[in-house]
């Protein structure tokens, strides 16, 4: 855990200690919050991204005269998740905390409503996407603010040369830099044919079918593209449907063209697959592209991030959304909310996106056209379509629209990739697989 001490107004602090009652009222007044504020943020994977966050926080802390303590918490080894769980159990810790997708709704009862902030942000940043709303709004109230940092889409990242050569698909023409996609024919059926051609050419698509996030995300988007829900928004189990059978049949066809060990791939395996030059396509945020540019420039310069294929029910793109929330037991709620507003302003978000080299994806409609995505390369424009600037696809999370407490279990336990694995590697019939899924899902409904 890295700690960074920022602005310290000792005079104010001493004054607050001396006249506690008067200054406590001042803190609550909100407009010019003072006192101490402790925030727990994610330690960004992109080197240097934390520095920009520090600068933005310092700017705010100096202006608001707040003694600010930032703890950067790594996600490695579930340390961030454990910290959130520990703080929730102890009812003590940071004032402002970052939450991964499901965690905000999990801890909704311990989070301050932020409807006031969201109302203002919608005016300045545009409407949040449906996944942000699904995860951040509980019983009609926003419990946390969608947070761009380390939120990411996981669209296809293709090899321009290999896709053209073996599958006859020009991904740059389909998703041209600077203009709207021309991807009407880019469907899951086209995708299957391309997967077969690339596999036969010895450069198969690298798509994990395991319990790790990258796997659950792309398989979840595939299910949604076929309208295949396991549990509906009312919490009813509807896994034994034609749509689910249809998507499983599709999965069966696709898996035969994937590497034979995708069933245990972790979130780094697909990146290594692409960077090693062995594959023509993966589904991932641009971290794989950034590493390729650094470690294998000849491959990095051939990568193009673009939209997802469309299915019978639409074009869904996997989106992992994060949130920032204020604990109900926070000691300085007004300062925490003030910092949230500052860091969610369009100018601040643009700086954060630039610092992440385009990795971070804001959830708000007006914040998907920053110049960072248009300019980074090589090749120039490779990330232009990454933030979905033309609203060409629906940002989604696997297992939605099931109630989040059930969807969380479906997601974390990788039920959908497991279903595909069971009927392919496991050799199970689709009916038997559906029986298994039905039983698992019944268990997930426990309170």
């Amino acid at each position: 855990m890295m700690s960074s001490k920022l602005s310290r107004r000792r005079l104010m602090a001493r004054g607050a200690a001396a006249t506690a009652a008067g200054f406590a009222g001042f803190h609550v007044s909100g407009a010019h919050a003072a006192g101490k504020l402790s925030v727990g943020l994610w330690d960004h994977w992109v080197p240097g991204a934390n520095n920009t966050m520090n600068e933005l926080c310092k700017e705010w802390a100096d202006r608001e005269k707040v003694d600010l303590q930032i703890d950067y918490i790594t996600t490695i080894g579930q340390k961030h998740q454990l910290t959130v769980a520990a703080e929730a159990a102890a009812r003590a810790g940071h004032d402002l905390m970052i939450f991964t997708g499901w965690a905000a709704s999990d801890h909704a009862r311990l989070l301050e409503p932020v409807d006031d902030i969201m109302a203002d942000l919608v005016k300045s940043n545009g409407a949040p996407n449906r996944t942000a709303e699904y995860l951040g709004k509980v019983n009609g109230k926003w419990v946390a603010v969608p947070w761009a940092v380390m939120s990411a889409l996981k669209p296809p990242c293709s090899r321009i040369d290999l896709m053209k050569q073996h599958a006859g698909i020009d991904v740059q023409a389909m998703y041209p830099a600077g203009s709207a996609p021309k991807a009407d024919n880019w469907t899951w059926d086209t995708f299957l044919v391309a997967a077969e051609k690339c596999a036969k050419a010895g450069v198969p698509f690298g798509l994990p079918i395991s319990q790790f996030g990258d796997s659950v995300d792309w398989v979840g988007a595939l299910f949604q593209a076929y309208g295949a829900q396991l549990v509906n928004s009312k919490g009813e189990i509807i896994v034994k449907s034609d749509a689910v059978k249809q998507v499983l049949e599709y999965g069966k066809k696709l898996v035969q063209w994937l590497p034979n060990d995708v069933f245990s791939w972790d979130d780094a395996a697909n990146n290594r697959w692409l960077i090693s030059g062995k594959g023509a396509l993966i589904m991932n945020p641009p971290s794989s592209w950034a590493v390729a540019v650094r470690d294998a420039p000849q491959i990095g310069s051939q990568l193009w991030t673009h939209g997802m294929p469309a299915g019978p029910k639409g074009r869904y793109a996997p989106f992992t959304s994060n949130f920032a929330g204020v604990w109900t037991f926070a000691k300085n709620k007004s300062a925490a909310k003030s910092l949230l507003r500052h860091l969610s302003s369009p100018a601040a978000v643009e700086k954060l996106v630039a610092a992440s080299q385009g990795y971070d994806i804001p959830s708000f409609a007006n914040l998907t056209t920053f110049k960072t995505w248009a300019e980074v390369g090589p090749p120039k424009g490779t990330l232009y379509h990454y933030p979905n600037p033309h609203n060409h696809q629906i940002a989604s999370i696997a297992a939605a629209p099931a109630p989040p407490r059930i969807a969380n279990q479906i997601y974390v336990q990788g039920v959908m990739p497991k279903m595909i694995a069971r009927i392919t590697q496991g050799g199970e019939s689709i009916d038997k697989c559906l029986d298994w899924a039905q039983k698992e899902l019944q268990g997930f409904k426990r309170a």
């Binding site: 319990q211 060990d261 245990s264």
Partner: protein
């Protein structure tokens, strides 16, 4: 001296002397000397175990007492029974191979001239002294689908690529292999110590009586090593059953949950799926299995100790 004061003084002397007697009693001294350990065990073992038991009786949101509902829930799940089965396969197979390899290597090292023996002992202990999470990462690279050195060698001689971690059979083989690689040196060093404690005269007498290699092994070496073998197997069974790092790093329980062991499954449910009571229930399930193994093995050791 007034009478009251005299009685008080006498009582004081009696109390002082009984305290002093208590302090001199061997059991009191033994208790005081064991006290730091008792405190440590209470704080680090009994309290967490009790807390885990308490957690396992709560509902998912940890707000209501649900008795044994979490256990009932697990008993109804196909995946849980698969985890029980896999934990047994993993632990039993790995311990058997560790014991066998440790036994063979200990004999080989024992027969190396003393001059070079220390060097070999040191080298053979290397897998055991490297933190397993770190050495397992190296194994992960050896099994990796893109950069696997094993597959590179196999393909070099015209063989097919092996999905080391992607197919149930191979994945189980891989995690057992790494566990054996890591744990065999422990058996080796324990058996080597046991071998060195066998009096040489027994072998000499046996040789005079015309005993062959197998008879010396069966009637001298094995009986003399029996207790250390039992204790080592027990210790290793406990550690292997509760293994986490190797499975977590290599497969995280996949493919299709077919390599999960108790610890990784408990982590999956308790931490990753935010169902701490269910995770606690899974981890507690190890206790009766290990307690049974401990009772059987220790009773055997104790019986033989009484016989001698």
């Amino acid at each position: 001296m007034p009478q009251g004061a005299a009685i008080a003084s006498a009582r004081g002397r009696r109390t002082g002397s009984s305290l002093s007697k208590a302090a001199k009693r061997r059991s009191t001294i033994a208790f005081l000397m064991a006290l730091p350990l008792i405190v440590l065990i209470t704080a680090l073992v009994l309290y967490p175990a009790g807390y885990a038991l308490h957690l396992s009786t709560l509902n998912k949101s940890m707000e209501e007492f649900v008795g044994f509902e979490n256990f009932e829930y697990l008993f109804e799940r196909e995946t849980f029974w698969m985890v029980v089965w896999q934990s047994c396969i993993f632990a039993i197979t790995a311990v058997i191979f560790k014991a066998l390899i440790g036994f063979i290597v200990a004999h080989i090292v024992h027969n190396i001239p003393l001059k070079g023996q220390r060097k070999w002992r040191g080298m053979l202990l290397v897998p055991w002294v490297i933190p397993p999470a770190m050495s397992t990462l190296a194994w992960l690279w050896l099994f990796d689908s893109s950069y696997s050195a094993f597959n590179w060698l196999i393909e070099g001689v015209g063989g097919p690529r092996i999905p080391w971690l992607g197919e149930t059979g191979w994945a189980r083989f891989s995690i057992i292999l790494v566990n054996v690689w890591y744990g065999a040196p422990f058996f080796m060093i324990m058996y080597l110590a046991a071998l060195k404690s066998v009096p040489e005269q027994l072998y000499e007498a046996a040789a005079i009586d015309g005993a062959g290699w197998w008879q010396r092994m069966w009637f001298i070496t094995l009986p003399m090593m029996r207790n250390i073998i039992a204790i080592t197997v027990l210790f290793s069974t406990i550690v292997t059953f509760s293994n986490f790092d190797i499975v977590r790093v290599l497969t995280a329980g996949g493919p299709i949950d077919t390599t999960h062991v108790f610890a990784t499954y408990a982590f999956k449910l308790g931490i990753e799926a935010s169902d701490i009571p269910l995770g606690a229930a899974v981890s507690l399930f190890m206790f009766p299995l290990l307690a049974l193994a401990a009772i059987v093995i220790l009773r055997d050791v104790s019986r033989r100790g009484n016989q001698t």
